[in-house]
Amino acid sequence: MYRYDEFDHAFVKERVAQFRDQVERRVSGDITEDAFKPLRLMNGLYLQLHAYMLRIAVPYGTMSPVQMRKLAHIARTYDRGYGHFTTRQNIQFNWPKLSDIPDILEELASVEMHAIQTSGNCIRNVTTDQFAGAAADEIADPRPYAEILRQWSSVHPEFSFLPRKFKIAVTGAPHDRAAIQVHDIGLQLVKNEDDEIGFKVYIGGGQGRTPMIAKKVRDFLPEEDLLTYVTAIMRVYNLNGRRDNKYKARIKILVHETGLDELKAQIEAEWQHLKDTDLKLPDADIEAITKYFEKPNLADRAEGWAQLAQWKKADAAFSGWIQQNVGPHQHPDYGTVTISLKPIGGVPGDATDAQMDLIADLAEEFGHHEIRVTHEQNLVFPHVALADLEPLYRVLAANGLATGNAGLVTDIIACPGLDYCALANARSIPVAQEISNRFGDAERQKTIGELKIKISGCINACGHHHVGHIGILGVEKKGTELYQITLGGSADENTSVGQIMGPGFEPEAITDAIEKVIDTYLELRVSDDETFIETYRRLGMKPFKTALYGEKTAA
């Protein structure tokens, strides 16, 4: 993975000192709260219901054991012994004090981490495929490009006060695990006929109040043009994005209102001036960054095949875990392992300091010192020998970390909701917990198969409900919580936005409603292999609506 050089160390150190000074001036009254707010947000610091919340960047979700231990230390020392992994592959702490933040940032800097641009109207943490560099279907590793973008976007003088937040995602595989089509810029690595690497470029995707699927603006952008082209997009957006209404300020609205062709022409015109400037990437620089991401030296471990078959036969729970949580690796003797942070009835994405320490130890012992955070709020060891799966599983299971539910109905994404968030209208976590408990039985989950439930506690859609196969949106109506269900969303290479089913459900009724939707699917599917989303796409909303609201409403 990427390691800081002297330049990066010096930069982060200066950034910490800068924020320490800003905090001092805030406390002394030299900065008003209005002026301080964007400054603290640009360093990941929110004020939530109960306390401040600090969101720490995990660039493109990649972390070392040393960094994970530091997060555990921060949870223990400055917070309440746990942290929450987020849909932007970051981690957030829910209870830090403003006066401690500069010290926390200094601790982070000592392990090459920071909280830069994890919030605010600036370019956010660049995200990617959690299996980058390991997945069997990958064309090229997206991480070097994500790292170049991370560096280039850090404290950008021109793009720190954009109309609204700006999210970039990169994927290196045709099967999109980075949800690039719901990002402001989505980049898909492709090769042209001369076998050169470049990007398919999408702009204008996003969720929130007005969900939109990104539009393609380039079929092939050569890799050397990455920064010049992104700069052109940013400049056109900074100058022309709407600033009169925060709900219309994302680039998706600019695309929509300007028209794709016109906006594309503006971007291309701006790019003509930029393409041969200093931002054009030299091959040597791309190579130098790429070198950091060389695969670890993975020795052949062919003995794992036979062992694995034996272990699976002997232990059904282990076998279920392998089936759901272990994926194919570029090396046939290895697999990618998803460590579920979705225990049945648990809080999605939360981990205690002891669990973080344990995961760090296990990554050293079995995982070639690499940990990933997924946008689905789980953790991943990208390189584990098949021969090590059983011992790894034993330790995980003993610590509540071996739930074999990756991609299943209980692998729920949920935002913090009204239990923590100052913007929320309804709670998300209790809904996730109740659904998880209802469907917690391993056999039942397996029968249902792949099903992504995503829950947001307000229209800002941090829980990605628009792209859940089943999405749940919490709203406040007459002082009480109400939950709307959407069906048919998806965030992969066939991205779609879910459709609202009908009137919402009260907290007591939402789990029953979800169960009815799922039971309807089980009745209607043509075979055990037809997934929920496939059945929905075949039949549409009507049969589900009839099941839930009766014949009359559905007609």
Binding site: V27, H50, Y52, P343, L418, D419
Partner: protein, 102 residues
Amino acid sequence: MSKVLTANKLIDGNSVWLNAQGEWIETIADAFIARHDEAVAALEETGKKAVSDNLVVDVAVIDVKETELGIWPIRLRERIRSHGPSVAYGYEALVQEQTQAA
């Protein structure tokens, strides 16, 4: 109509409520209750001053009910602010999961 004044402390972010002595306290139970317009106006003034003195942020006058069990905020949001998350977290959550699994 009963109202109390709430905010978050600048220095640590903790939720606080104003008591009758004009102090910012970390439990709603002893908050000063304004029951008529003049008292509400006074709360609003106090809030403004505390913001400009850089003691608190996100100040708000909120509706409450006076019950036998004490002050009960009308909005769920404010009940969660005053009583903490409605779900167990951290180690407490772990214990809960393990009990349920058992």
